[in-house]
């Protein structure tokens, strides 16, 4: 990284990160310090112009942590399911896990696709997938996101 900084760059960084060089990206500080030494008045003017916002940000209210918040959070965690013992070729929970489930998990995803198509045709409504398409069905079968899968699109 160059140790030379232009007036414009110094000003841009001050407008971005404020008047304290210690808040600037580490790789820019040496060049900024050099600029400051070579152009003390210009640098001071630029940095002083940021004092108002720096002081304001220092006054942003601080929220004390409620004493029992940690306990409340820990109590909100659902109980961990006991691990199954013994060797099993497959289990219901494995259907939702791609690595453990393997073929059964893919079979589950395909079954969901078939069922949704049947229901959509039977009721007269077209359940259309969201923009991501069938990938979301498979992703949801593996328990990754909370994304809504279907958008109801009533046909006439």
């Amino acid at each position: 990284m160059s140790a030379v900084m232009t007036h414009m760059e110094f000003e841009r960084l001050a407008q971005t990160y404020g008047g304290d060089l210690l808040r600037w990206p580490e790789k820019t500080r040496r060049a900024a310090s050099n600029f400051q030494q070579q152009n003390p008045q210009s640098a001071k003017t630029i940095l002083d112009h940021q004092t108002d916002v720096d002081h304001a940000l220092a006054q942003v209210p601080h929220q004390d942590i409620r004493v029992d918040l940690e306990t409340q959070i820990l109590r909100s965690f659902p109980a961990v399911q006991a691990k199954r013992s013994g060797n099993r070729l497959w289990s219901w929970s494995a259907l939702l896990h791609p690595i453990r489930g393997g073929m059964p998990a893919w079979g589950m995803a395909l079954a969901l696709l078939l069922v949704s198509g049947f229901i959509g045709g039977y009721t007269g409504y077209a359940y259309t997938l969201n923009q991501s398409g069938s990938a979301d069905i498979i992703a949801d079968a593996f328990g990754t996101t909370d994304a809504t899968l279907f958008v109801e699109d009533p046909t006439t």
Binding site: Q15, T16, Y17, G18, A56, Q59, V60, P61, L74, S76
Partner: protein, 197 residues
């Protein structure tokens, strides 16, 4: 407790939380308690600055740690710091809540002052100033607010903040500059009035 160093030689991402996350993934609640204690203040502060409400900030923090508990078992150490993921989750939850709010954030303090009342003492002025500043922050677009909160208030590096927000450093710097400018404009008159009292 697991003694993983958190350092992946392949990717050189040192993460002090790796050992805890691996234990949490195995259902270790003591490890979860340590992680909560370690990161709770930052999560609450981030959410408070994004939402401007103490109760909602606590809700967000709770949601973040619940997601930690639910997803820790899927974490692959070495790719990124776990704290980066938590920050990202917190910010996204805040964005969701702001979208659901869909209300105009209104100032809380009245503009008029009782002329006959004695002048406010310094602590009252400080409180009013803090409130005004928080309200000015709340009037910034959420992404500018997020950038300022991460970089200035939480002293996250620009690289890490850009990673959290999933944007380039240039985009982050643009948000920071516009956020600072927006704050200055919003506060200019109000702070001047308060400081003159």
């Amino acid at each position: 407790m697991h003694t993983h160093t958190g350092h992946d030689n392949r990717r050189s991402v040192h993460d002090p939380d790796t050992a805890l996350v691996l234990d949490i993934g195995r259902g270790d609640k003591k490890a979860a308690a340590i992680l909560v204690r370690r990161h709770l203040p930052k999560m609450v502060a981030l959410a408070r600055n994004m939402l401007g409400d103490a109760n909602e900030a606590e809700d967000i923090a709770q949601e973040v740690f619940l997601k930690v508990w639910q997803h820790a078992g899927k974490w692959h150490p070495g790719k990124a710091k776990f704290e980066t993921w938590m920050h990202r989750v917190a910010i996204n939850l805040c964005y969701d809540r702001l979208r659901r709010r869909r209300e105009v954030y209104t100032d809380r303090l009245p503009e008029t002052v009782d002329e006959d009342s004695p002048g406010p003492d310094q602590s009252t002025l400080d409180t009013q100033l803090s409130v005004q500043i928080e309200e000015a922050m709340m009037h910034l677009p959420p992404r500018q607010r997020a950038a300022l909160t991460l970089c200035h208030l939480q002293e996250t590096s620009n690289i890490e903040a850009a990673r959290i927000m999933k944007i380039s450093i240039e985009a982050l710097e643009s948000l920071l500059a516009r956020g600072r400018n927006g704050l200055r404009k919003r506060l200019a008159n109000k702070v001047k009035l308060l400081l003159e009292k």
